[in-house]
Structure formats: structure tokens, C-alpha cells
Symmetry: C2
Subunit: 339 residues, 2 copies
DNA sequence: CTGTTAGCGCTTTCAT
DNA sequence: ATGAAAGCGCTAACAG
């Protein structure tokens, strides 16, 4: 049995190539009966449709959208926020009969797949700087989420304002504040920021959030002591635990913990309770993101809900639309038992 | 500026298309000097190499290997075992200048990408049965890991023997055994298996492991009471906690816990210690997989080490090789403080 | 409703 | 070391 191509199939079925092509791609171009006959004949032969690579070469589009994760897959996808986002993306793509292709932000070569996809949705700034350069010059559509690339459409929330409001909702003038931040500096472990240079100050959501926290503190005439601002390299339990232990043993002990993710906040609460610190009487905790798990935990967490699944859907719609203006999505401050 | 193609670039540079093509693909076909000149001229023009889709259509290969995860990405990649495997795959592919494309096993359409890749490495049987059918008839190379597909090469360990040996290493004739199994039946929650029909008995690694445990128990004249065999839908803390709580409150209380993953075993140990049960004096625990985390935890876990990163590398090598015989990888029983 | 044909961007043989 | 030309598998415009 030789290779099955549109042409060879057309010949064996005794019709023209256009007819086969139409049977698969443009049902309106032939009678239902003929189409059915052709389709079932093809199935019988073992021909499952036109070659996608050729199709894509010919039409210039493949129906595949690449999602680039900022970091290694293992890190990203274990994060409930990221996986919710991905679910939203997948759902909306499916709605449009498009396919998702996952690409790790730590990979070197975007070129390798660039010609196979219709464009890119980048979730968070890729850790690998080389990718950014490739994205800049990419002739295909590129949409960024949670960060900006000059001249590219983006989807985000107003991190500064959200952080500001969430802090404002719990702070009073007598509080002592500690901040558990995410990727504020370039360090692989949990540590106080002190005077380490802040990382790419501009676009990072972490720094926007920090700005918001600081603005809220200023309005309450509160100042942030050096030891009270911590950097965590990732949003996971271990790093959060280390940081929480450290700040909770400072004197004076913080009365408010501003955390840049719910995962961090949850771990910090666990740590505090273990130390016998009462929440919210002795310590108020605020998170960021809004994940289901915080509703099952007690005390429930006060946080910024940013609805990551909806964000994923919005990202796809923005990717597909012609509108290139940056999109700011809504969020909600929801107060729980932790404040 | 019009579109940059091999042809257009060749014209502006005043050389033939073959020369440009050779400059990118076959350095030996032209002088170093000329090649350098062409490459830098291309970079200046903004031409970054031949279009991959066309290249793939022409040559019949794209340099991309798809890895299909058995389940949704979010579940798979949060598992340290899976992510170690993926790392091994990524490393070995890179070595061969190939690219990795991640595809979720819950996706519907393999056809969408099948023409863009050189083949598939499937890690665990896809949850979506439709994918299996597509994989069966796929004309490209397909390698399976941790399960079998008729006529396809595979990479695995001898799960039955490994489970048998790990159980054998801790069991004595006076023990009461409980088993915390992974995906034994088709249920979305933790629950005793009782007389629910076992799931696709054949190829599932869970059932191979169960067979091994049971063989070891038989040799010790031990029998397994219905309530003492639990099914967990996933290898995570919540499910493990529920199952552990349940079996540890049975009368008589188990003295040995056979767990089908290290993550399950770790959670079970946590639970037992919280209940004041001494390990290993009152309860011995055995895991499966071999993950780093068990070395940091105390008591350290006795387990089957299957070296998932090496498995990933082996999978790629098997994928690339002509040898289609099923490959059984080595494993090690390592005893820790938990037994 | 069907058949013919040009060409998507590239690689590769063959002749020069 | 280079140029011309065929063709990978398909789509879409056009003519019938």
C-alpha cells in the first residue's frame, strides 16, 4: 500500500482532488450524499484528511496557538493559578476549533515551532531572555499576559491598584507590616531583599504589587523596615515557610502579612498557627490571586481574586481579535477570616 | 518590505537558492567565508532561516517530538515523578538537536499536530480513549512509557517484580497490610476498592504493582481484607490523607502500608505521626518511584527507585533507535527509616 | 457540482 | 561552488 495523499485518494475514488479537498474543508461545495460517500470511502482507505503541514504551507495558517509559559513547565503547571489560566485558554481555543501547543519558557528555540503555529500567547515574561528577542521580531501574532512587550497587545490586571486596595482593606495606623514578595530580585532562594537591586522594575507584576502595598502603607503613615520585605523565588510551600518563619520571629513581630500569592499566604498562615499566633487577632494575612483552596482552609483568606480561568479565555479572545489595545481585566478584593 | 523567503533573499544577495539553503543546512557544501557572509547578510535582512513548515513538507521531518501526557497537564506536571521524566526527555532531545512539544492526553485531536511532528512519546496511557485509537493507526513512530500499545516499542520497569520485592523486604508473617493504590478503579475520589471492578486490568502499572504486592503477601501467608485496599484517583496529599486516615482507623490497625507512590507514602506517614503512631515500630511504610523529597523527610522512606530522569532519557533513545523490542529499565529497592 | 492548474517555501539532483 | 528545475501535499481560483 503506497502513501495516501489527496491526489492518490482522488484517483482511486475516481474524482478530482478538489472534490476530496472540498469534502474535508468546504462541505457547502458539494452534495451531502457525495460528501458522505467520499468521507466514508476515505475512512475505509485509512485516509484521515489532508496533510496539515501541506495545508498550513498552502493556507498560511495551522490552527495551532502556542502558549509560552514563563518558566519551566514543572514549576508553572504545579501552580494552581497557572493551571487555571491554562484551562481557560484551552476551553476558549476549543470553542474556536483551535489547538493548544505548550511551550516551555526555558526552551531556547522559538524558531523551531514558530513556522508551525498561528501565534503566541505568553503567560508571564519568559525567564529566558533570548525568547523575548525572538518574540519581538516574530511576524506572527503575539499576545502577552501579565507583562508587556512594546507594540504587542496584552492582557493583565491593574496589579498596583489591586495590591493597594487589598492592603488598604486591612491596614491600620498601628500595624507592623511584612511583605512576602515573589521574584523581586534575582536570587534562587528565600531571603530579605535588603538593598539588593530590584529586578526589571518596569513590567514585573511583583513590582507593581509592591508599589501598591507601599502606597497603601504610606497613606497609613507606615514604613517598611528592610528585614520586613522578603523575596521568594517561587510560589511554593518550602520557600514560603522559610520566609514566614523568618519574618514572624522579627521584633517587633508583624501584625500584617502582605503576600504576593495565595499559596504563599496559605503557607504563612500554617506557619503562624503552628507558632501559636492567633489569626486575625495577632496577625492579619492578605493573599493575591484567588484560588479555591483558600476557601477550604480555615481561616479563609482575604485576597485579590483575579479569576485566572476567565483571564485565559480573555487572552484567547484578545489574541483572536484585531484590537491591540492593552486590556485590563477586573478583579475583586474578597475579605475572609484572615483579616 | 516584502516577505522574506529563501528565494527573495537569494535574489537580493545575488546567489542561488541552493546556496542559501546550503548555508543554513549543509555547511560543508560551501566555503566558510561565503557561508559567513551569507549568514550575516541574512541576519541583517531579518531572515532567520528557512521556513520550517516548508522544510518539513519537503524533507518529511520537522525535528519535533511530541510528548503526550496521560492526563491533563496540570495534574501530570505537578507530580515530581512526571516532571523528572520530562526533564530527562528534554535533556536527551536537546542532545540530539530535537525539540519537545507537550501535548495533553485529554486533548481530542492528535491529527491536528500529527503532521507537524516526527513522532510521539506517550507517558502513561492517555485518559482519552480516542487518542489511543489515533495512536494505533499513526504512521509515525510511537513509543509508549509505562504502558503498552500492540506493535509499538515501549519503555517501562517490571512493576510487578519491583512491587513484589519492595513488599517482600518489609513483610513478616505477623503483619496486617493495607494498600494505598493509584487509579485501581474508575472513581474520582479516594475509597476502598471492595468489589468494584478493577480498571483495565491488563496494562495498568497499578495493577501490575498490586499483583506484586499480593504475591509477596501470599508468600507470607497474609491475606488482604476488603477494607484494606484503597483506590486513590491521583497521587496528591488530599487523597492520600483521606485514605490514610481511613485505613489507620481500621481494627486491627495495619502494621504495614504499601503505597503506590512516594507522594502517597509521605502523606500517609505524616498522617500516622500526627495520630501518634510510631514509624517503623508500629507501622512500616513503603513507597514507589523514588523522589528526592523522601530523603529530606524523616523518617526517610523505603521505596522502589525507578530513576525517572534516566527513564526519560532512555525513552528518547528508544524512540530514536530502530530497536522495537520492549525495554525494561532497572530499578532499586532502597530501604529507609520507614521500615 | 467537478476538473485543471498555479504555487505556498523549500531541498536536492544534475549539470555546469 | 552554483544554477535550473522537479516536486513534497495541498488549496483556491477559474473554467466548464
Amino acid at each position: 500500500m503506497s502513501k495516501l495523499t489527496l491526489k492518490s485518494v482522488a484517483k482511486t475514488l475516481g474524482v478530482s482532488t478538489a472534490t476530496i479537498s472540498n469534502a474535508f474543508n468546504r462541505p457547502d461545495q458539494l452534495s451531502v450524499a457525495l460528501r458522505q460517500k467520499i468521507l466514508s470511502a476515505c475512512a475505509e482507505l485509512g485516509y484521515f484528511g489532508p496533510n496539515k503541514a501541506a495545508q498550513s504551507l498552502r493556507t498560511g495558517s495551522s490552527g495551532i496557538v502556542a502558549v509560552i509559559l514563563s518558566d519551566s513547565l514543572e514549576y508553572m503547571v504545579s501552580d494552581p493559578v497557572a493551571s487555571q489560566f491554562l484551562q481557560g485558554v484551552a476551553r476558549e481555543l476549543e470553542l474556536h476549533k483551535l489547538h493548544l501547543l505548550l511551550f516551555s519558557g526555558s526552551s531556547a528555540n522559538l524558531d523551531a515551532i514558530s513556522d508551525f503555529v498561528d501565534g503566541f500567547i505568553c503567560y508571564g515574561a519568559p525567564r529566558n531572555l533570548g525568547l523575548i528577542a525572538q518574540l519581538q521580531r516574530c511576524p506572527k501574532r503575539v499576545l502577552t499576559v501579565d507583562f508587556d512587550l512594546p507594540g504587542r497587545p496584552s492582557v493583565n490586571i491593574d496589579n498596583e491598584q489591586a495590591a493597594y486596595q487589598s492592603a488598604k482593606a486591612v491596614l491600620s495606623r498601628t500595624d507592623t507590616v511584612a511583605i512576602l514578595g515573589l521574584r523581586l530580585i534575582d536570587a534562587p532562594d528565600s531571603r530579605p531583599v535588603l538593598d539588593a537591586p530590584l529586578w526589571d522594575n518596569q513590567s514585573s507584576i511583583a513590582h507593581r504589587r509592591l508599589d501598591g502595598y507601599l502606597r497603601a502603607m504610606q497613606e497609613c503613615k507606615l514604613s517598611l523596615q528592610p528585614d520586613y520585605l522578603w523575596h521568594l523565588p517561587e510560589s511554593n510551600q518550602l520557600y514560603a515557610q522559610q520566609a514566614a518563619q523568618a519574618v514572624l520571629s522579627l521584633t517587633p513581630r508583624p501584625t500584617v502579612l502582605l503576600c504576593m500569592s495565595d499559596l504563599i499566604a496559605l503557607s504563612a498562615m500554617r506557619e503562624a498557627l503552628q507558632l501559636g499566633i492567633a489569626i486575625p487577632q495577632q496577625l492579619k494575612v492578605v493573599g493575591f490571586d484567588g484560588i479555591e483552596e483558600t476557601l477550604r482552609y480555615h481561616p479563609t483568606l482575604s485576597s485579590v481574586w483575579q479569576f485566572s480561568d476567565a483571564k485565559g479565555e480573555a487572552a484567547v479572545r484578545a489574541f483572536l481579535s484585531l484590537d491591540d489595545t492593552p486590556q485590563l481585566l477586573p478583579y475583586e478584593i474578597r475579605l475572609g477570616e484572615s483579616s
